[in-house]
């Protein structure tokens, strides 16, 4: 059913942690789940508006997240993504608009009554409680029905097992690492069995190596539980690698809401094109493989600029215009070249052994995007 090793691992995990929150009979039918089988409702936002100090922070925002989907709100700081998240969680009251979680209007409810659970950017663990007490707190507040101590202990253990943290049960948050604190915060959110999981910049306080691991962990758990999730981030790589869909925000509006692949290959606006991935932005248009003045703005991805050094043979050896290498920045498994052609200076990605600075050859533009008034009008290729 699936060839993805991560997902089949997720399914087998789900089978052996039968007491995990929200884990029920769905995994016991024998067939490996492909993950993301929705257990929760979706999120439906309509006409959400927030004005702070005379400035419109969020401007009539509409967004629909499907049940079981993981969506990232991606944008630069100050674009309103955190404000949006805080309105969904209930910490900010919108001036107008509607927020539906699982088909239920929640806009008039306080944060304690909403069916969403949030993982805070700084994790917001209570330092005077142990890891287990932190996770147990939301359960101890339940009134209808009131949970017995045994049930609470069982669910706390299950949640901690889910994030692989049982051994730190009795530690204070200050005594465990940043990554472990983050997993505690995640367990505290998941133990509530929320309809909607909200994560505010979940990886920003972790170092680069841990970040990759944690984002895989979060994705895996999200898939396993099939929980509708909204992540706020300013890191495009983070958003691209985790999300089913990404909503790119700018100045209180959603510029584009689509899959990571589509966002990259067909950015709806110039802003999205520059914010997601790297881009050569050149004013003009392309005629016969040459950039000429006039028209709108060209967006050329560096990987679509091919540089072939003189003397090298290859299929595109005589395509493109004469070019000189001005700068070489090694990036590990590839190098970023800056090449000067007679019509423009372009960045290009080179795999294999990079040419030396000053090397001469030809640079060819294979694909490009054409924008007018900031909007994508045409995708071109040579």
């Amino acid at each position: 059913m699936t060839s993805n090793p991560t997902l089949s691992r997720a399914a087998s995990h789900a089978a052996d942690s039968a007491t995990a929150p929200a884990s029920d009979g769905a995994a016991s039918d024998g067939a490996p789940r492909t993950g993301g089988a929705p257990r929760t409702g979706g999120l439906d936002i309509k006409g959400l508006t927030k004005v702070l100090g005379g400035r419109t922070i969020i401007d009539s925002l509409d967004m629909a997240v499907r049940p079981g989907e993981l969506v990232s709100l991606l944008g630069p700081s100050g674009c309103g993504k955190t404000t949006t998240l805080r309105m969904i969680a209930g910490f900010l009251t919108p001036d107008s608009g509607s927020i539906m979680v699982g088909g239920r209007e929640v806009v008039h409810l306080g944060p304690e009554q909403r069916p969403s659970a949030m993982v805070f950017q700084n994790y917001a663990l209570w330092p005077h409680m142990t890891v287990a007490k932190n996770v147990a707190f939301p359960l101890r507040l339940r009134n209808r029905p009131r949970l017995s101590k045994a049930v609470i202990a069982e669910r706390v253990d299950a949640a901690l097992a889910l994030v692989n943290l049982l051994h730190h049960k009795d530690s204070r948050p200050a005594r465990i690492s940043g990554g472990e604190q983050q997993r505690t915060a995640l367990a505290r959110a998941l133990v509530q069995e929320p309809q909607l999981l909200l994560l505010d910049e979940p990886l920003s306080n972790l170092d680069a190596k841990l970040r990759v691991k944690v984002r895989e962990d979060i994705r895996e758990i999200q898939q396993r539980l099939g929980i509708t999730t909204l992540i706020v981030t300013h890191d495009q790589e983070e958003a691209m690698s985790m999300s089913d869909r990404i909503a790119v925000m700018n100045q209180g509006r959603i510029e584009q809401f689509s899959t990571p692949a589509e966002l990259y290959s067909a950015p709806a606006t110039e802003f999205v094109a520059t914010f997601v991935g790297s881009l050569n932005r050149v004013e003009g248009r392309i005629e016969e493989g040459r950039i000429v003045a006039g028209g709108g703005v060209l967006g050329i991805r560096p990987e679509d600029v091919a540089f072939v050094e003189d003397g090298d043979s290859g299929s595109s050896a005589d395509a493109g215009l004469p070019a000189t290498v001005e700068r070489v920045v090694p990036r590990g498994h590839f190098a970023e070249l800056t090449v000067r052609r007679e019509d423009a200076v372009l960045r290009s990605f080179a795999t294999g052994a990079p040419p030396a600075v000053g090397a001469r050859g030809r640079a060819h533009i294979a694909k490009w995007l054409e924008f007018e008034d900031g909007k994508l009008v045409r995708k071109g290729s040579a």
């Binding site: 209930g90 304690e112 909403r114 950017q121 707190f137």
Partner: protein
Amino acid sequence: MTAVSRKVLARALAAVFAVALAVFIIGPLAWLAVRAFADSWTYPNLLPDGWTLHWWEVVFRDRSLGIAVQNSLFFAPLTVLVSALVCLPAAYAFARFEFPGRRFFLIGLFAANAFPKMGLFVSLAALFYAFNLMNSILGILIVHVLGTVVFMTWIPAAAFAAVPRSLEEAARDAGASKLRVFFSVTLPMALPGILVAAIMSFLASFDEAQGTYLVGAPDYMTMPTQMYSLVLNYPTQVAAVFSILLAIPSVALLLAAHKHIVGGQLAEGFQIK
């Protein structure tokens, strides 16, 4: 001069300084302790002429001194309690809400400490006569609480303000009501600061003499006010005995606090570790 001899010199200077500091702090206390057991002690003798427990007997036999001890142990805890009830909500408001005149009131709390105490108490006495509070428990309590308002507001306000808002928000997100958030998250986290304020208030109340004397004497004598009549009516040895007695609760409290300071939670309040 070699580096080694310079190091030795530095150490010697540090040692001399430490001894001088110790003498400065411990000297008067040692003198007091010796004095309490001294028969007579005349210049230029380095030690008293004879030793006696007579002065302790005098103190313990005097009924009014026993009553003073009782009064002190009655007023100090009550003061801490009343002060906490009055000031902690104010401290929370100062820490968490922005309201008109917030800074004015916050600075205004220092007013009671900005003037010479005696001047303040004299005008207070005029008010107390008008409201029939002279020679009353309530009157003394008001004077004592007045002296603790600054500690009990500023220190807990700082402690409340230091509780990150996201920790409170996380509790609300988890399903806690505002009241529950306060008692489960905000208060426990601010507790070290509040305990520091409580200890300082207890000691301030225990030590309060001027206002208590003015409002309470002669019906309600506490240990510090009793000191005045002792110094005037008895030999200095009795005063020495009494100041040792007066110091016992403070020292005991500090020792108890010390245990917790090393334990960690209070250290967070004192910002030492």
